[in-house]
C-alpha cells in the first residue's frame, strides 16, 4: 500500500496523518467550546512576580 512494503513503516506513516487530524479536530472543538475559560485566568501578577526590571 502506498508503495511501502513494511506494515510497521506504513502504520507509522498513517499514524502521523491520523494523529495530526485528531489534534486538529480536538483543537477546533475546544476552540468552539471554550469561552468561559477566560474566567479561569489568573491576574497578571502578584507578590513575587511583580518586581519591575530596572
Amino acid at each position: 500500500m502506498l508503495g511501502i512494503e513494511d506494515g510497521w513503516v506504513l502504520a507509522g506513516y498513517l499514524l502521523c496523518i491520523a494523529g495530526a487530524i485528531l489534534c486538529a479536530v480536538y483543537g477546533v472543538v475546544s476552540w468552539v467550546r471554550g469561552d468561559g475559560a477566560a474566567s479561569e485566568a489568573a491576574p497578571p501578577r502578584d507578590g513575587q512576580t511583580g518586581e519591575l526590571i530596572q
Binding site: 512494503e5 513494511d6 513503516v9 494523529g19 489534534c23 475559560a37 512576580t49
Partner: protein, 674 residues
C-alpha cells in the same frame, strides 16, 4: 570576490528583511517586558495560537530538520514513528494531560520556571537548585546540536568556513533573546513558525514531484534496498521503507536498537520533560487556551519533522535516479573515506575512487564517489557507482547514482600526513539535497526556514538555560533577604552568555557521525530520566514525597551518567573514561585497543539508549521511596490539587495556599537540603 557575488543580492536582501523583522519583534518584546513575570513567562497572557507556534518552533529545530532528516535519509522511513510519537505524545498527551494541569499548578504556585514548579510543588529548594543545575550544565549540548544543523547548511549553501558560520549563527540568536525575554522569544517564534511551515510544505510537494508522486516515489525508494551501504546492511538495515531487523544478542540487530531506543524513544518520550517546552504551558491564561492550541501544534509537527523525515528518505531516489552534474572533471583520485570514527581506535575507512567536478552552471565544486569496493567480492573488486558521459562542448555529464549517504561526502580536514581527509557526513544530506535538487530561490527560502528553526529553538534554550542559573540556582542559594528579582534578569543574561560559549565549544569540536541526532537524544533522554517521573507525579500523584522525588531525580541522573560514561559505546568512547575500565584487546593489523563499552562482549547492549534503563529506574525509585517515607503536608497537597475538583480559580486557591502557609507559621517553602 565580494560578499554579494558569493552569496547573491537576492539572498542578502531576503536575509536582511528577515533579520529586520526578527529584530523588530525582539524589540517589541523588550518594550513590553516590564516585570520579571514578563521576562520569564510573557506575563502569563500569551495567545494560544502564538503559544502553539512557539511550542512547535521551539520543539522542532534544525536538529529535527537537518540532523534527524539526515538520519532518515540514511536509515529510511522507519523514523516516521518518531513523528507519530511527536504528534501523539509530544503534542496531544503533553498539552491535554500534562499541559493543562501544569498551567493551573504554575498559577497556583506562582512558578516561573520548570525547576521552580517542581521545587514549590514538593516544597524543596534542593529540587529547584538541582533541576536548574542539570539544565544549565547539559542544555549547551542540545544547543550545540541545533547550531551544527544550521551551520552545516550555511557552509554548503554559501561555501563559507564552518567556524565562521557557526559564530555568526550563534551571535544573531543570542542577541535578541538577551534583550527580549520570553515575550521577544514568543513573538519571533510565531513568525519563525509560520516561515518554517511554508518552507517545509513547499519542500514536501517539490520532493514528491521529483520522486514521481507519492506511491511511485515510495515504490522507487523500496526498490533501492539493493543499494543500501554494506556497513548498514551488516547492522540490520533492510531497506528504506522497512524497519531494521529486530532481535537481541547479535550485531545484526544493532540498527533496530539505535533507531527505536535512541532515535524514536529517546526523543519521542524525552520531549515530555523538556524544561523549555514545559514553561510554555505556563505562559497561557487558561487550560482552555492550551486545548485550543493542540490543533495547531499537531499540524505543525506533521509539517516539520514529518516532512523532514519523508524528504530525507526520498532524497535517496533523487540522488540515485535524477541527479546530474554537468561540468568539468578537475581531479580523479583514490582516498580512504571515513565511514565511522570510534574514539581510541583508528577510524574505519573505505578506499574509494573520487571525482572532483566543477559544475559549469554554478561554479560549485563537488566531490563524489566514482567507485567503491564491491561488498560481495572477496577479491577486492571495485564497483562502479557514478556514470560519466560526454555532454559536448568539452563538458561531461556526471550522474552520481549514489544513495544519500554516499552522496554526503565532505572534506573533514587533513590527516596526520597532511592529506585531505573525507568522510560520509549524514548531517550534510539535507543541505546537499536542497542545494542540488531545488532551485536557487528555494535555497534562500530554506535558509530562512532553517534560520527560523534554529533561532526559535536556540532562543528558548538560552532562555531556559539562563533562567535555570539565574532564578533556580543563583537566586535560591542567596539568603532570603538578598533575593531581589531585579538582579535575577542580570544573572539570567550572564547565564545565557556562559551557555552560548559552552555550546560553541561543543559545536566546534563535534562534527560527523550524525552527532546532531545523538546530542539531541542524550539531552532529551537525560531530561526524561531526571524529571519525567517527578513531573508526572507533581500533577497526578498526591502521595509523592519530597524524599521520593529527590531520590528519583538523583537515580535518573546517575543512571544516565553511568550508561553514557561506561556502557553506550559512541558516547562513552567520546568521553574516554570507559577505556580505563576495559582490557586491551587485539585489533586489526596487530594493534590493540580498549573497547568503548564495559559490555563490549555482549552485542546490542552498547547501543541501547540510556532512557530504557534510567527512566524505569527513576520512576521505580520515586514510587518505592515515596511509599517508605511520610506523606507530604496534606494542606499543601490539597491546595496544589484543589483546582482539579472545584470551581474556584487559581487566584483563589493561591490565596488560600498562602493563608495556610502563614497559619502554619512556615516560610514559603521548606528548606530541606538532605
Amino acid at each position: 570576490m565580494s560578499l554579494a557575488q558569493t552569496v547573491g543580492l537576492l539572498d542578502i536582501a531576503l536575509i536582511a528583511a528577515y533579520l529586520a523583522a526578527v529584530a523588530w519583534l525582539g524589540w517589541l518584546g523588550y518594550r513590553r517586558t516590564r516585570s520579571t513575570s514578563d521576562y520569564l513567562l510573557a506575563g502569563r497572557r500569551a495567545h494560544p495560537v502564538v503559544m502553539a507556534l512557539s511550542y512547535g518552533a521551539t520543539f522542532i529545530s534544525t536538529s529535527a530538520i537537518v540532523g534527524f532528516g539526515g538520519v532518515a535519509a540514511m536509515f529510511g522511513m522507519s523514523l516516521l514513528w518518531l513523528t507519530a510519537l511527536n504528534i501523539i505524545v509530544g503534542i496531544f498527551i503533553a498539552f491535554v494531560f500534562l499541559g493543562s494541569r501544569t498551567c493551573r499548578l504554575g498559577q497556583i504556585l506562582d512558578a516561573h520556571t520548570f525547576p521552580e514548579l517542581l521545587g514549590r510543588r514538593y516544597q524543596s529548594r534542593f529540587i529547584q537548585v538541582f533541576a536548574g543545575a542539570v539544565i544549565f550544565l547539559f542544555m549547551p549540548l542540545y544547543a550545540a546540536a541545533v547550531m551544527i544543523g544550521g551551520t552545516e547548511f550555511l557552509t554548503l549553501q554559501f561555501g563559507t568556513d564552518y567556524g565562521l558560520a557557526l559564530l555568526v549563527f550563534a551571535a544573531i540568536t543570542a542577541a535578541y533573546v538577551f534583550f527580549g525575554g520570553l515575550k521577544g522569544v514568543l513573538y519571533t517564534d510565531a513568525l519563525q513558525g509560520a516561515i518554517m511551515t511554508c518552507g517545509m510544505a513547499v519542500l514536501l510537494v517539490a520532493t514528491y514531484w521529483l520522486a514521481g508522486g507519492i506511491t511511485a516515489g515510495h515504490a522507487r525508494l523500496t526498490a533501492l534496498k539493493t543499494e543500501v551501504f554494506a556497513g548498514h546492511l551488516a547492522i540490520g538495515h533492510r531497506g528504506f521503507t522497512a524497519m531494521p531487523e529486530f532481535g537481541f544478542g547479535s550485531v545484526r540487530y544493532n540498527l533496530w536498537w539505535i533507531v527505536v531506543s535512541t532515535i524514536i524513544m529517546g526523543v519521542g518520550i524525552g520531549v515530555l520533560a523538556q524544561p523549555q517546552l514545559i514553561v510554555r504551558f505556563m505562559t497561557v491564561r487558561s487550560r482552555q487556551d492550551l486545548k485550543s492550541a493542540v490543533g495547531i501544534g499537531g499540524v505543525f509537527v506533521l509539517l516539520l519533522p514529518g516532512v523532514a523525515y519523508t524528504v530525507g528518505a526520498l532524497s535517496n531516489v533523487y540522488f540515485h535516479d535524477r541527479e546530474e552534474i554537468v561540468g568539468t572533471i578537475r581531479e580523479r583520485f583514490d582516498a580512504d573515506v571515513v565511514t565511522r570514527r570510534e574514539p581510541g581506535r583508528a577510524p574505519a575507512t573505505l578506499r574509494c575512487t573520487l571525482l572532483r567536478i566543477a559544475e559549469s552552471a554554478t561554479g560549485r565544486q563537488h566531490v563524489i564517489v566514482e567507485r567503491l569496493p564491491d561488498a560481495g567480492s572477496s577479491a577486492g573488486l571495485m564497483r562502479q557507482v557514478a556514470e560519466v558521459s560526454d555532454a559536448g562542448g568539452g563538458l561531461v555529464r556526471v550522474r552520481p547514482r549514489a544513495t544519500a549517504y554516499l552522496r554526503a561526502l565532505v572534506r573533514a580536514g587533513t590527516d596526520s600526513g597532511g592529506r585531505a581527509e573525507y568522510m560520509f557526513n549524514p548531517d550534510s544530506i539535507i543541505p546537499t539535497f536542497i542545494s542540488q535538487a531545488m532551485p536557487r530561490w528555494f535555497g534562500v527560502v530554506f535558509l530562512l526556514t532553517l534560520l527560523s528553526a534554529a533561532m526559535s529553538t536556540m532562543s528558548s534554550q538560552y532562555h531556559a538555560l539562563g533562567s535555570a542559573i539565574g532564578r533556580d540556582v543563583f537566586e535560591q542559594l542567596l539568603p532570603p533577604a538578598r533575593r531581589q528579582s531585579a538582579h535575577t534578569v542580570a544573572i539570567v543574561r550572564a547565564g545565557i552568555v556562559v551557555g552560548l560559549v559552552l555550546a560553541l565549544l561543543i559545536a566546534f569540536s563535534a562534527r560527523g557521525g550524525y552527532v546532531i541526532a545523538r546530542a539531541t537524544s542524550i539531552f532529551f533522554g537525560l531530561c526524561a530520566s531526571a524529571f519525567l517521573p517527578a513531573f508526572i507525579a507533581a500533577l497526578y500523584w498526591r502521595r509523592a514525597t519530597r524524599a521520593g522525588v529527590i531520590a528519583s531525580m538523583i537515580a535518573g541522573v546517575t543512571a544516565t551518567a553511568f550508561w553514557l560514561l561506561l556502557v553506550k559505546a559512541d558516547e562513552a568512547g567520546a568521553i574516554g573514561l570507559v577505556r580505563w575500565f576495559t582490557p586491551a584487546v587485539p585489533g586489526p593489523g596487530g594493534t590493540t585497543y580498549h573497547p568503548n563499552s564495559i559490555l563490549w562482549k555482549y552485542p546490542n547492549w552498547p547501543v541501547v539508549d540510556q532512557i530504557l534503563i534510567a527512566l524505569p529506574l527513576s520512576a521505580l525509585t520515586l514510587v518505592i521511596v515515596s511509599m517508605l517515607t511520610s506523606p507530604p503536608d496534606a494542606a499543601h497537597v490539597r491546595a496544589c490539587f484543589a483546582g482539579e475538583n472545584e470551581e474556584s480559580g487559581p487566584a483563589a486557591v493561591r490565596s488560600r495556599l498562602a493563608s495556610s502557609i502563614q497559619a502554619a507559621g512556615q516560610p514559603g517553602r521548606k528548606d530541606d537540603v538532605p
